[in-house]
């Protein structure tokens, strides 16, 4: 029988094996490493379905002090593995760009394929973390590996700027996290989330000190999930980072951030002050993300603002404490965002990242244009796509909780979203093409994109499998 901690160890060993192979097998085409990593991760993904979710014992000792293997964490371990697999597929397509930034050597590419595996380990630990010490350590593992990945093609000044910005602002947010943890520890004397909840039930515990701590932790997590007012870094970093890394940041990092947010806020979210604060953050995030996305001409930047906007919808779910709605939305967001980025990686190498570079894509590559169409209409929330049902469950939860302001602003901003997502669709289908030649797609990418299209539509029409998985 496989237990959950073995999954991370397997991924860790895979990462080290690939790194060692990279170091000693100098003559091999480095893309072999990526294929090996994809196969290895896929095997671990299959193995993860045989893990039985076991909640950690009540009076936990040793490993179970820090680690839980409940169904939420197992689901998100699979989520992290799948994200990493898709990111690696994108990275294979992106390899020429990386190679160009390390001229004269074959170096760099092997590390480009192996660092995401360690990020994946960090994400998998993070979604299982139930202790602030462990949350901090695994969050740092994720962040440090993203420092490397974001500034990977450092020859490009835009990438370098993104790398420095991410490093400085992320370090600042870590400082807030540690300060917040110190306050919570000072008020409750515990770092384990379960025991913090118990300590808070004790009337002798100072609630205002614990609340200050949680708000400081919220600052750090707000940075990770790109919530307003901690979103300043998002557009520049998303635009400057290598495109597969941007996809990884916007899906993996954000999903893990939300899982931690759900776990950390659980003891506090019913307090009226916390409710007001979260509603305010959700409203600001919705309005800012959607309005700022309107004038964007660069697709990567547009997706960055759209990522902020989607954080707003997810935060509505967090305010209503509806974990299942949040998880379903994240699953839908995973599909449609990866779909858009997968097309973007391929098209950007042929023409560019501007929306005008997508002019007439339907003529040049009907397949890619259709994939982008599905991605965009799902991000906008058109019925019969995963994005629509995600938004539906979120708004339904908000209506049940009588959060009328959130629902009204949410629906208005969805309308905004239609404008800027369909701008891309218009460019692809109604604008004349600048160039005529076809865009080549590798077989693996075609397979991955087809799978994402199918899953986006399938989840939009028949969401029962995911819902059952969450209820179980």
């Amino acid at each position: 029988m496989i237990t959950a901690p073995q999954l991370e160890i397997a991924v860790l060993l895979l990462g080290m094996a690939i790194l060692m192979f990279e170091a000693f097998a100098t003559r091999v085409d480095k893309r072999v490493l990526a294929f090996a990593a994809i196969v290895g991760l896929a095997l671990i993904l299959i193995a993860s379905f045989f893990v039985s979710p076991t909640p950690s014992p009540d009076r936990a000792t040793g490993l179970w002090n820090f680690y839980t293997a409940d169904k939420l964490s197992v689901f998100f371990k699979q989520f992290a593995l799948l994200t990493t697999i898709f990111v690696l597929i994108m990275m294979i397509d992106y390899a020429p760009v990386v190679r160009a930034s390390f001229p004269g050597t074959t170096d760099g590419l092997g590390e480009f394929f192996s660092v995401p595996i360690f990020t994946c380990v960090g994400l998998m630990y993070l979604v299982s973390a139930v202790d602030f010490i462990f949350i901090f350590v695994s969050l740092e593992l994720v962040t440090v590996s993203f420092y490397v990945l974001v500034s990977f093609t450092r020859k490009n000044p835009v990438t370098l700027e993104a790398g420095v910005k991410y490093l400085v602002l992320s370090a600042l947010s870590t400082a807030f996290l540690v300060y917040g943890i110190a306050w919570i520890f000072g008020a409750t004397g515990q770092t384990n989330l379960q025991r913090i909840t118990e300590a808070l039930a004790n009337p002798n515990t100072d609630h205002s000190a614990a609340l200050l701590g949680v708000v400081l932790v919220l600052v750090a997590l707000g940075f990770k999930i790109a919530a307003v007012p901690f979103q300043i870094w998002v557009p520049d970093v998303y635009q400057g980072a290598p495109t597969p890394v941007t996809a990884y940041l916007s899906v993996g990092s954000k999903a893990a951030g939300f899982v931690v947010l759900l776990r950390v806020l659980r003891p506090f979210v019913t307090l009226p002050q916390m409710q007001r604060l979260l509603v305010l953050i959700a409203l600001l995030t919705l309005i800012y993300g959607n309005l700022a996305a309107l004038p964007q001409g660069n697709l990567k930047r547009l997706l960055a603002y759209s990522s902020i906007a989607h954080s707003g919808y997810l935060l509505i779910g967090v305010v209503c404490l509806d974990g299942n709605a949040v998880v379903f939305y994240l699953a839908a967001y995973f599909l449609m965002t990866l779909l858009s980025f997968a097309v973007l990686v391929i098209v950007a190498q042929q023409t560019g990242e501007q929306i005008s570079d997508f002019d007439g894509l339907a003529k040049r590559s009907p397949f890619l244009a259709f994939a982008m169409l599905i991605g965009m209409v799902s991000l906008a929330g058109v019925p019969f796509t995963a994005g629509f049902l995600g938004k539906f469950f979120i708004f339904y939860a908000a209506i049940l909780q009588r959060q009328i302001a959130l629902v009204v602003i949410g629906v208005i901003t969805v309308g905004c979203g239609f404008y800027y997502y369909l701008k891309v669709v218009r460019a692809m289908y109604w604008q004349p093409a600048n160039k005529a030649e076809d865009i080549p797609i590798s077989g693996l990418s075609r397979l991955a994109i087809s799978a994402l299209i199918a899953a986006t539509i399938w989840l939009g029409v028949y969401p029962q499998p995911i819902l059952n998985m969450l209820k179980r």
Binding site: L12, L19, G62, L63, N65, F66, Y67, F102, P103, G104, T105, D107, G108, E111, S114, V115, F118, V121, G122, Y125, I133, F134, V137, S138, E140, L141, V144, S145, Y147, V148, S151, F152, R154, G186, A187, D206, S208, A209, L212
Partner: protein
């Protein structure tokens, strides 16, 4: 430790911490950071955390800062140019920081534990190093090992991002 010494070291830390940011000369900034670290080490020692205090001096004030100074001098970094300060943004930043300060002071004002003298800790029969080591390798073994992975990733990153191109 008498409260007077706490205030002396805390003020020392804060003043030199500000000096790190304000100084235009990188060497002066680095040296201010050393003094700030020494103040922090003294505060750790006043809490009977001798091991942490000594590590703070040895590793941070010693090794890390010497490395900083070496790099600054080897690169021969010039003093930072005088920048145009955006006073509106600066005022906004100071305003937010002040609000946070007031908030923290208010919470400390309510915080019961901050107003009473706690009984001294029982004298430990083992030394600090033993205590920390035992904790790291028993209860906190899992986070400790993940830090190992973190350091591995950081090493890969440093080697990769700082390498020079072959000519």
């Amino acid at each position: 430790m008498p409260p007077l010494l706490f205030w002396v070291f805390a003020l020392l830390m804060l003043i030199f911490g500000v000096a790190v940011v304000v100084n235009r000369n990188p060497v002066a900034s680095a040296l201010s950071l050393v003094v700030s670290f020494l103040g922090l080490a003294a505060l750790f020692m006043s809490l009977d955390a001798y091991f942490v205090g000594i590590i703070q001096v040895l590793v941070y004030a010693g090794a890390v800062m010497v490395l900083f100074l070496f790099i600054i001098m080897l690169l021969n970094l010039p003093a930072e140019e005088r920048r145009q300060i955006n006073w509106l943004a600066a005022a906004g930043g100071i305003g937010v920081a002040l609000i946070l300060l007031v908030q923290i002071c208010a919470v400390i004002g309510h915080f019961q534990a901050a107003h009473q003298t706690l009984p001294p800790l029982p004298r430990s029969t083992t030394d600090d190093v033993w205590n920390i080591g035992a904790l790291l390798f028993s209860n906190y073994n899992l986070p400790f090992q993940i830090i190992g992975v973190l350091v591995l990733v950081a090493t890969i990153g440093v080697v990769l991002l700082s390498r020079r191109e072959p000519r």
